[in-house]
Amino acid sequence: GESVGLHLPTLSVQEGDNSIINCAYSNSASDYFIWYKQESGKGPQFIIDIRSNMDKRQGQRVTVLLNKTVKHLSLQIAATQPGDSAVYFCAEKSYNQGGKLIFGQGTELSVKP
């Protein structure tokens, strides 16, 4: 079946360094991809999204890269801060499947001061 998965379950970085979180997906027909951040005890919070007709999108301190050839998605966080410590989920959907997001397992990002 279709799945979205993350390469690494945990990532530890030094404050100020850049972080890269990776995600692989299996559905080549996916139209839309999104990254969420989830802090302990809270619901997932939108970070950035990208549609399949793009390969890069930038936000404030975050960049999402999409490589459709190898079905790979990454989230780059510049100048990582302690407040970035959380679990990060990638998710994808196909518009012809009713807008249902399929989530990966998550990567826990830990930022060391």
Binding site: Y36, K42, P44, F89, Y95, G99, K100, F103, G106
Partner: protein, 113 residues
């Protein structure tokens, strides 16, 4: 409202009892989703509602689970005869456009003892 509101935030119930979880989506959002998140895991799709269309119930794990959405707004997820494996955080989300991401609530943490 300004965000997705879920109640209660925490629920402890005895095995075998029924529980109802409530979700108030963002006003005007036509699509509403329920997900389940077990400890340290990703988000598992349960059910989604879109306007007046028949709900997509493909993720409900058993017939003990049901959900309804009244008047195109508030939704209730009901779990009958709860089991210990039902213990999880139940997350609700809504969106205006099926081509966009969701806004999540903070979830209901259900503990079955």
């Amino acid at each position: 409202g300004a965000g997705v509101s879920q109640s209660p935030s925490n629920k402890v119930t005895e095995k075998g009892k029924d529980v109802e979880l409530r979700c108030d989506p963002i006003s005007g959002h036509t699509a509403l989703y329920w997900y389940r998140q077990s400890l340290g895991q990703g988000l598992e799709f349960l059910i989604y509602f879109q306007g007046n269309s028949a709900p997509d119930k493909s993720g409900l794990p058993s017939d003990r689970f049901s959900a309804e959405r009244t008047g195109g707004s508030v939704s209730t997820l009901t779990i009958q005869r709860t089991q210990q494996e039902d213990s999880a955080v139940y997350l609700c989300a809504s969106t205006l456009q099926l081509t966009d991401g969701y806004t999540f609530g903070s979830g209901t943490r259900l503990t079955v003892v």
